[in-house]
Amino acid sequence: MIRKAVRFIDERTGSASFLGKALRYVFPDHWSFLLGEIALYSFVILVITGVFLTLFFEPSLAQTTYHGSYAPLEGQHVSKAYASAVRLSFDVKAGLLMRQTHHWAALVFVAAIVVHLMRVFFTGGFRKPRDLNYYIGLTMLTLALVEGFAGYSLADDLLSGMGLAIAYAVALAIPLVGAPLAFLIWGGQFPGSSDFLSRFYIAHVLILPIAIGVLISVHLLLIALPKHTQFRGAGRTEHNVIGTPMWPGYALRAGGLFLATAGVLFALGGLVQINPIWQTGPFEPWLGTNGVQPDWYMGWLIGALRLMPGFEPHVFGYTIFPNPFFGGILLPSIVFGLLYLWPTIERRKTGDHHAHHLLDRPRDNPWRTATGAAVFSFIALIFLAAASDRIFVSFGIPYTGQVWFFRIAVFVVPVIVYRLTKLICEELRDSDAHPLRGSATREVKRQQGGGFTA
């Protein structure tokens, strides 16, 4: 049967030799090379569950009266979008499972991208020839953030409506073009024209997923062309790659990872409740709830918006930079700008224009690792600040005190982290001169006459 299939394909495409080579493609073994795969598999789950959801969701802001299984909403005036999202959660078999799995998959998708980005950054995997692919990866992260936010916004529940109000304010805060741009996106002033939701919907289910899908293909191609990177080790050089061939060992393990990812996501989707929109209720511009939070990956932006002191530069009584500009536009521009420029910055600093296929361990490049750790601690603190209202409710640490603490900590802590990381890296590097992957500990023996040898 296999022979028949192979013959069928090859006689029509002539691809037997290519496919044979592809099956022999070598994957170096290291668990950290699987992080991107986790993101890819989450994306697959997102597409599958998302298609299911589109069959029931109605992206319309037209008003309707809710009649359905959730009694507290009975008779309330809600948008068709909200009503259909509640209906698919309560009255469509497996609908809630799909909706929750979709949402969990989105959270894990972005988390996996971030962890993957950190692996690439701290090991120098972004260096030539892979800098091009690094930019594509960053672009996918950016698109994933927008895509996730668009999905969060579709349900037209109280949380998503308040999130959109903030997004509108951030768009408005862009210098010069903010107001016209926001009016283009929303079709007028917030809450926007009746077209608004269907626009977000098309972006969420068509434009952005296709863009991400295309970039994934290019990303994979650009991995395969120069072949995988690898860590230093016995026999490994810049000119070869050592590992397990795709078929059969690697394919089975990777397939196992896909199944495991899917299993975890569906288990979460069935067992752990996420975004219970029936409890949140429908949105109106004059309604608000305490503890407004976005999905985790937007947490740093809300943290920055909350930490920013209340100042708005102005001349002659006219505002120049609206306050949300600083947390909502400037901060992400700086962070993403730094990430995009990093390969260039590093080339400039080191003067190293060569191609690299062997990865660094984080300690091998203390300056890079320390800078990355400092930036990471900066963003992590802003994330934490975004939860400071819930920290107050749960642990009683006064909110205003926390805000002031974070306002100072975001500048002090990264400096300390930078120094400390650099010190640790240098220590590790020097004590472990042999660049072998693995433990840096050495056997210590007690000599007979007293004293130790390492």
């Binding site: 073994d29 090379f33 990812t261 979460l268 309604l287 709830t289 503890g291 947490g299 409710v393 642990f395």
Partner: protein, 257 residues
């Protein structure tokens, strides 16, 4: 049957996956103990006398011997009303150790019978009585809308509490219908107060009924992780979702030379 299944699964999951930190965050806002005693409505002269006695032992140091208040320390309790007294005492918010602190829900300092006596005494000084509320007469849909309009801004839409700069709005997971009604009418600490023009008695019944629902919400989706929205959701995504998959990756990717 479905609810039992869900509870069982939820419990297993919570225990099995060891989200201890999460549980802390989610449950830290929960109060201490549900009050067993109902509000005292009796006010015989003996009860009032007993209440005055208790008052002078436990409350007079701040509110004054004649309950006329001590400027800068604590307010006059004349015309404060039985409703306010019952609210503050039955939720353990009074007596307060330090007059400047925000009163928070704790285990009541007094037994149910002693609270009845104190409430009878404060009630005898005038003011509105304990409001009558009957959740069973309320309408859930009206309750949800009124709660979102008037209460969710501070108490959070699932009644899990929140913050107002300078103070916090308590979670309502332990609030009895009577306490909810008292708080609405009294406006304790920095809470706004709502008269019958703003929230009529029928709407109040509905709000009380809706608060009861939020105490045991419809968690069709499974484990409710505290009902406080995306913060615990993000923690689950990282600490359970991604962590589990990373563990698998670690197991299959480890296999090197």
């Amino acid at each position: 049957m479905r609810r039992t299944v869900r509870r069982l699964l939820t419990a297993t999951l919570a225990a099995g996956l060891g989200g201890a930190a999460l549980m802390t965050l989610a449950n830290a806002s929960a109060g201490v103990q549900r009050l067993s005693a109902g509000p005292g409505q009796l006010s015989s002269p003996q009860l009032i006398a007993e209440g005055r006695q208790l008052y002078q032992e436990g409350c007079a140091s701040c509110h004054g011997l004649d309950a006329g208040g001590i400027p800068g320390k604590a307010p006059d309790l004349h015309r404060a009303g039985a409703g306010a007294a019952d609210f503050y005492l039955s939720t353990g918010r009074m007596p307060l150790d330090n007059p400047g602190d925000q009163p928070v829900r704790t285990k009541p300092r007094y037994s149910g019978q002693r609270i009845d006596a104190l409430v009878a005494y404060i009630g005898s000084l005038g003011g509105p009585p304990i409001p009558k509320v009957d959740p069973s007469l309320g309408n859930l849909s009206q309750g949800m809308q009124a709660f979102t309009d008037h209460c969710a801004g501070c108490h959070q839409v699932a009644a899990r509490g929140g913050i107002v700069t300078g103070a916090f709005a308590p979670s309502l997971v332990d609030a009895t219908p009577t306490q909810v009604a008292e708080a609405v009418r009294v406006g304790p600490y920095v809470m706004p107060k709502f008269n019958r023009r703003l929230i009529d008695d029928r709407t109040l019944n509905s709000i009380a009924r809706y608060v009861q629902l939020t105490q045991n919400p419809v968690d069709e989706g499974g484990w409710g992780i505290g009902h406080i929205g995306p913060v615990p959701e993000g923690m689950v995504a990282w600490l359970m979702g991604l962590a589990a998959v990373l563990l698998v990756a670690r197991l299959i990717g480890e296999r090197t030379e």
